[in-house]
Symmetry: D2
Subunit: 297 residues, 4 copies
Amino acid sequence: MEINGVEIEDTFAEAFDIKVSRVLVTAATKKLAKIAATEATGYGTSVIGCSAEAGIDSYIPPGESPDGRPGYTIMICNPTKKGLDHELLERIGMGILTAPTTAVFDALEDPDEKLNVGFKLKFFGDGYEKDLEIAGRKIHSIPIMSGDFLIESDLGIKDGVAGGNFFILGDSQGSALLAAQAAVDAISAVEGVITPFPGGVVASGSKVGSNKYKFLDASTNEKMCVTLKDEVEGSQIPADVNGVYEIVIDGVDEEAVKEATRAGIEAACKVPGVKKISAGNYGGKLGAYQIKLHELF
Amino acid sequence: MEINGVEIEDTFAEAFDIKVSRVLVTAATKKLAKIAATEATGYGTSVIGCSAEAGIDSYIPPGESPDGRPGYTIMICNPTKKGLDHELLERIGMGILTAPTTAVFDALEDPDEKLNVGFKLKFFGDGYEKDLEIAGRKIHSIPIMSGDFLIESDLGIKDGVAGGNFFILGDSQGSALLAAQAAVDAISAVEGVITPFPGGVVASGSKVGSNKYKFLDASTNEKMCVTLKDEVEGSQIPADVNGVYEIVIDGVDEEAVKEATRAGIEAACKVPGVKKISAGNYGGKLGAYQIKLHELF
Amino acid sequence: MEINGVEIEDTFAEAFDIKVSRVLVTAATKKLAKIAATEATGYGTSVIGCSAEAGIDSYIPPGESPDGRPGYTIMICNPTKKGLDHELLERIGMGILTAPTTAVFDALEDPDEKLNVGFKLKFFGDGYEKDLEIAGRKIHSIPIMSGDFLIESDLGIKDGVAGGNFFILGDSQGSALLAAQAAVDAISAVEGVITPFPGGVVASGSKVGSNKYKFLDASTNEKMCVTLKDEVEGSQIPADVNGVYEIVIDGVDEEAVKEATRAGIEAACKVPGVKKISAGNYGGKLGAYQIKLHELF
Amino acid sequence: MEINGVEIEDTFAEAFDIKVSRVLVTAATKKLAKIAATEATGYGTSVIGCSAEAGIDSYIPPGESPDGRPGYTIMICNPTKKGLDHELLERIGMGILTAPTTAVFDALEDPDEKLNVGFKLKFFGDGYEKDLEIAGRKIHSIPIMSGDFLIESDLGIKDGVAGGNFFILGDSQGSALLAAQAAVDAISAVEGVITPFPGGVVASGSKVGSNKYKFLDASTNEKMCVTLKDEVEGSQIPADVNGVYEIVIDGVDEEAVKEATRAGIEAACKVPGVKKISAGNYGGKLGAYQIKLHELF
């Protein structure tokens, strides 16, 4: 299969179960909301080494938010409910409550259940906190130095999907990178998904374990490394490829991840110099989801 | 004491010992370096709830970096050496190694000792890593999908200072916020310091423990909350103050924190509507450093 | 009338006829589209001294653009058809054709007529230009160094509305500025309007002519200057107001300007410290449109 | 000659005389200064079709500016003194005076003469303007709605150099673009120069006149167009090149343009996939300056 002259490999992305939350961070201005959303979702690329996978989903204009202010939906993901509860409490408490003019609302449709993160945070008010209702939502108002921080009492979580992915193989590092950025822009228009790596792009693919160092859980995927293509037996890098980037996608459900994968691949294939699109899997043995690239189009 | 008509309270900021690192993240472009630096220092406002206090220190133009590319120095801080070692490994491994076109160099002057973070990360190369020398530094080159990630073998750490701070009291939330942003801009020109909170600004001051909820380690500092000024006995908010923001500063040493405090206060006092500058302390009982505001000028 | 406790003065904004165009600038990435859109709409605050009033209207995600790439709609406005034709040719030719990876499409609904700007620009191809059709549109493909620049042959123009406006009076410069930024964010979600001043905000209101210097066409509106409130007879600045910013709005029609005015005022009134909203007019003698603030709500 | 394996063609950039100004725009925050500087220098890529060549030179931290606030130096260039006088008046008057919290200072070293731009602008104050002295400079304070706008009375101009340039030839559009962005970042660290095109990068090179359309002053440089390399006789695009971008540099003098050219080329040659660096000239017949690439290293 080809899109715009680019080969789409007949393979699939293997994705995994993860617990997902989605909250809306509003602030006085779009810029202030972005600052808080960025802090709260930082250091959140992969649960291999981070306490969560986290990122910004969508911009929400003032007319569409419960408090009539601009905001960003963010997603925070963790393998366990207990872990996600902790991450919501700390990332909101340390990264959003501390940021100027912010408020937090639940933004997850069809949650499996709700965690009382707002209820727990309200005690920070030391007795001065108050209960409000905004747009039918139960809100806690917590006095902080610069005014009052508002947070919805319960935040929804559900079983989502992590590790959706595809690889962009380009004739140079620059073309692969430009295509990866184009893919991230396209995916950012899909609701209910994040691309948790830096700027949405993964520069370093990994394999499970290591051939040489037995103490490692993960090591470089040498068969996908462009600088090793003439050195490694079984390299999967074609001769005309000199740059590879991966896009990793977490979503509220499989449909959202599929839609993001489709949009991202289509965008990548518009950039000159992209040679091939592939995806990462473990033979289907580890993850609950198989997103077959050819079935997306 | 007054600066530009603004009262500087005769008090001091109480600051604490912390282990500090400072590394330079370079990339193909300034923007790509910023993306990696932001990811690696995210979710890093306070060790009360984050695994580190982290932030961007300074922009380093191409001509001043070891590899001739643009970059940002970032600082990562943790109370213990072991904790800092872990944070460096994970924040660099998950947030910078994974980011397009990056490299990492030690950027700490006069370190107390060095941690072999780069040496540990090189094993990710699964035997394909190589040793290089750049500008007299020992560098590991690790093949990743899109090229090679470079990192200096040893990264310096030292005893630094956390929790430098001052409060900006303004006649409105807007004037205090504008002054806080001006202060952050001024501090960003001082080398060897970070303002780890979102956008450099703290909206929520806290006190140790809680009056009402005995299970809490920290709760809102009600005497500094503008919306409680008529309600709380002993409120420290003057009648004409309606907005308060705090700036928290971590630095490589006390001199750097002092210089940053001075620069930040001078900048804040240039903004119309700022009424008073204060600082936070615990009576001098907890922290090793007392930064007296009046002695800075 | 009050909104959120803020007085809305019973007055009207006086607005004027202007010729309006609206084009979509797409590029490989959102960032590249923004760069081109910004260059093409710069130095375009007011036709008092600029060759056009120009600004960015809306972000268009890849799935909604004719070439499946991200882009921004921009609006360029000029009092005359001839003037607008010149501005389109030069601002697109110098600011967008010269920018990496861009394309230009007509984005004006219900145009009064079309100008053959793309047709004129195609001659830059010196005979190597080609005609294409994209999504039913007639497109010229012009070879440039880095690839091909695409532009739609005809670009629509229509009679629009310039000079929609309102004033935000705050208790400090900071609160008025924060409210102005909030207003601009809200207006940016309204399609078919721009706020052409720097960052969308006007710091300097003017009156027609001058009391003292007869050679001037326009001079400062001293009755709205906060630093002159105790000095100027007839000052319109209340005693508790220390900061005033104006928002100026150009739109494709009166309805769009009204909707933007309404959204902007509502957003401004959410910011603490805003005391009053007013608007600028010339007694209804100069402009074709009177946008009465009280009728918007 | 090769740099980092990239061929540097033995040719020269032909540059021209132009009148240059350099002013410092300060504001309450770095972000506000950037907004004003961007508006004032927009629509200013080339005097072929714009009223000036204009751009941002350097960021100036608070401690280094006359009023202790952050700012950006901008350069505005025009072929004639009269033209430059007009551009300074309008671009400052429409793009900076109108922007929140700004001030303007002269920032040109060794001027040939001074233009009384600030003196002319002060009349906007309609008699309420005042004279001040800041750091030994004569300043006019003009009351505007939100406070007072400050501008230095006289602004220096001098004979500078326009049209410094080099071409980056990459194996793909992406690699050439990434290298161009790297070059712009490197050049931005050189004082006294701007790269006036969008984002600093030129996507469309032109030649004087046209082969086919005699009414044109300039048309595409077909010999440098990658999509025409197999079609145009005498194409200068090597077989392995698929992307070309140009960097154009204006500077306060020839030395500054040379230093910028050197820094830009070195940065570009660090990006994988760059094949060749060239430069544009007219055989030395038109411009006063010949910047020979090989003599820079």
